[in-house]
Symmetry: C2
DNA sequence: TACGGCGTGTGGTCCGACCACACAAGCTAT
DNA sequence: ATAGCTTGTGTGGTCGGACCACACGCCGTA
């Protein structure tokens, strides 16, 4: 085992033993280095990995926001991993869209009508009605709406996956809107469909909601004229995705 | 942007521009440090992240196996991430099992009868018949069998996710076998079910295969004494999910 | 009492060094 | 001539120490 892996191994043990939990602060890098018998550089490499996996968050300075703290953000790992693998063309966008369809349909079918996430979803739909700020703003809220639905299903993993999947193909979706014959027509239709989906979920009609979600997503891609053999085009689109913090 | 993030940002650009692809060798750490204007320590931290995400693989020495090479292994990222998040109790095992059920059911329904992965699956079943090396060896091949099924469905992402999900709850599953009343009885049943699943897939009866997979998984947990509540309606979902226009 | 400077501990970055490793070229003994 | 050993070279892996920016909280001062 390489030295930097000692850090994650140690953390996993601590978590399993209950000595650490989400919100706990890790020892300082210098202390951990001495404690684990490795150099601070190795500790840092290990911490960097944990950070990339969404397990910890590092903060400088002092006070409550400082130090390395255990978080629970699985979406972070999926997010960066998916983006890079899509960029390397190892992950066809087709697979991502397919997976998204599967997860979202499931989420719609299993969303609890009582979930507070649905209130957020309703708010987003209101915003989409009021602010008519073009495809970009619409898609932004559309994405949040779908993620809210996923969260309402009460499965953390699927919620995280969905959010990351959307992020990794956001740029692609944006380009698709350019192919639409008439945005305002499509926009109206999507809005109506959103209401229907949310109503179905709130009424506890999960199966209906799932059907509506599937039609909603497939309809969008169909109307945007997704090419039959999409893989090539998909790939080219996906490559334009860039890091948000560049 | 912290310096170590420069590495992944740079790599993403290179991938997008087509100057690098899977299989390419990255410049040496010392060269990259100079090229990117950062220290070698920062380059190493960035490389470590890429490695954790399954994007690159580092090898010492010289020759074809040496240097940092771009790979395409999304499962690696999911694997370690899921393990840690499950350990931190941020990811309930219930969510993982639920997700696994969803993905595997879908995979069984969409597996192509012509896929070469199915030949591998058949080989694994033969091995499970011949080598009776207890629960551990059995579970090992069982895991590979299910992953092979996922690959036969032709979705890299779902295949990777499935493999990782299994890995993240491997220890848990192993513990479960201890609760079984009689291993050899269970083992025989699982073997029979495996054959039935594979036969259904090979015959192109996706829906039947999905049903069998769901019963197969749920049956195991039920026999091991795990109360499974909400797990209906996977079949209908999974069957209807496909890419538009494909 | 209000305020401002400063000590202290945190992660962030860098440097230079040495190690283990694996291959390839060249030397050596047969 | 060839098999086998030696050495050179470049790779990632690790280390210790140094300095920086930062943010908080203490404490002296007005």
């Amino acid at each position: 085992m390489r030295n930097h892996q000692v850090v994650s191994a140690w953390l996993e043990q601590e978590l399993a033993a209950g000595r650490l939990a989400i919100g706990s602060r890790l020892p300082g890098e210098r202390a951990m280095a001495e404690q684990l018998g490795i150099s601070r550089a190795s500790v840092r490499e290990g911490t960097r990995v944990l950070e990339a996996l969404g397990v910890v968050r590092a903060g400088v300075g002092s006070g409550p926001q400082a130090g390395t703290v255990i978080t629970g953000n699985p979406a972070l790992a999926l997010d960066s991993a998916l983006r890079l693998h899509v960029a390397s063309a190892h992950l066809p966008v087709k697979d991502v869209v397919e997976t998204r369809l599967l997860l979202e349909t499931w989420a719609a079918a299993h969303a609890s009508p009582d979930s507070p996430a649905l209130a957020r979803a309703a708010l987003l739909l209101d915003e989409m009605d009021q602010h008519d700020d073009g495809p970009d703003g619409f898609l932004e809220r559309d994405a949040l709406f779908h993620v809210a639905l996923a969260e309402a299903a009460g499965n953390v993993l699927i919620g995280a996956m969905m959010g990351s999947l959307r992020g990794s193909i956001a740029a692609y979706t944006q380009r698709l809107t350019a192919r639409l014959p008439d945005w305002s027509t499509t926009s109206d239709r999507l809005r109506t469909e959103h209401r229907a989906i949310l109503d179905a979920v709130l009424a506890g009609r999960g199966e209906t909601a799932a059907d509506l979600v599937r039609d909603h997503i497939e309809g969008f891609y169909r109307e945007a004229g997704v090419p039959r053999d999409a893989s090539d085009s998909f790939r080219r689109q996906a490559l334009s995705i860039t890091m948000p913090n560049t």
